[in-house]
Amino acid sequence: MNVHVSQSLALGNLTLTEAADAVARGDVSSVELTRAALNAVAARDKIVNSFIWRDEEEALTTAAALDAMQRAGRRLGPLHGVPLAHKDMYYRAGKRSTCGSKIRADFRPTYTATVIERLESAGSISIGGLNMAEFAQNATGHNQHYGHCGNPWNAAYCPGGSSSGSGASVGARLVYAALGSDTGGSIRLPASLCGVTGIKGTQTRVSRYGVMPLSFSADNVGPLARSARDCARIMRVIAGHDPHDPTSSTEPVPDYEAALTGDIRGMKIGVPTNYFLDDVDPEVMAAFETAVGVLKALGAVIVPVTVPHMDAVTTYGSLLSRVEGAAIHAQWMRERPQDYAVHLNARLYASYGIPATVYIEALARRGELLKAVAEAVFSKVAAFIVPTIRIKAPTLKETDIDAGAEGSIEFFNKLSVNTRPMNYLGVPSVSLPMGLDSNGLPMGLQIQGRPFAEGTILKIADAFQRGTDHHSKLPPMLS
């Protein structure tokens, strides 16, 4: 069946859960959804450059098979027939996985990531590999090898990174959701800047088998999607122990979606009195204060909290992923340093100067610092909220380290100051839209809770989205 442009736009504006439920009811076929997604990519990806590669024929073949299966009375799972795409670092046996790099331009793994197997077992379709920072190591959206990724709200601005294509493709309504990865904010930063919802779970919550590593201690797999409900559905599918990843938790996975009641009356939510609101741009601060007001109006009890030891959390947190990334890249840094972008090989190089004793110190303090934060904060509140990014969205030009843009390194560092601490502490954290700045670019609200409190932070995010329409606003290219 041919899908007309107007129908494509209407289908493309559904959330993931709406699209999946429409397929389940038989209101729309998987082929129609997939054709609509491919039409959207053809029309709009030239603006944002969110895809590195696509396999349209395989996507349509899979969609047709899923439709036939449903007609025969069988459904694979809660994502049956929904087209997705993922950051190009999730391995699929025999398929290209560039990791956004020249070094792995032709890399074809021989095995498939557990999260990809789980998503496909739940019925989802993958239409391609998404643009990303080279080896997932910058926060801006620059990629020297596959072209820079643009922000769907204004392509001159940063989409955030390192899951830049994931944020841009979901924000531009090309796919219903995308996997990203988050080691210092790489899901939440593009979620914030592209106006979508993205969650990193508790460290160990989601398997990392078959996923390009950046930092063994701080890497997380998670979705970017159009709503908290979308994220809840995907997290239910991908979370849980994986025998292939011995670091993955055996903690039971609850039905996150079932817990989204919209009722947060009486729930205590913290607002930090230290660190997280320092030097916040006035426009971001105004949006944050409005968001606090929304949660209060929904019945939440707002409680000031002081997050202890932030000097230690930020100092140690800045070291872990750098040392581990340097160790992973040592062979290529010796043999092919010229094949990295300047900003990346420069960052990797410097990390070889961090002594092992300091790295061990950062690891050894991690548990005690988590316990101290839990005692001081999570004994008082169910979650605490901060702006995901303290500054307004910067442009690609002003953050281009490789082009020698003045102040670009400082921009680079500023983007992740509110996200990176959650990776060191290992706590779950979700970013969702909280408004637009005066340039028309999205700003994000970040919610974090105790370990394994994914359900609680998604419940707060869902309640917020029931009370606001920031997440359903469309970028100018679509309105």
Binding site: A312, R334, Y340, A346, Y349, A350, Y352, G353, P451
Partner: protein, 70 residues
Amino acid sequence: MPGPPDIATVVRDQAASWSSVTPPNAVAEKLAEAFADTIASLSALRGGLAFEQEPASFLAALQETKEVAP
């Protein structure tokens, strides 16, 4: 008597001797120099954490501090 080497020199020597990695560009040297701030931050932490000498496990801490079913 010469003073202590600057940070960029320390990083260059360590990267070369332990990992056989050499500075790829000028930005790399600039980022190495930025470690002076990190070192100052680490120095400021010394002795300030009450649990500094205690054994610890991050995975155990995740379990110990996890959310119980709401």
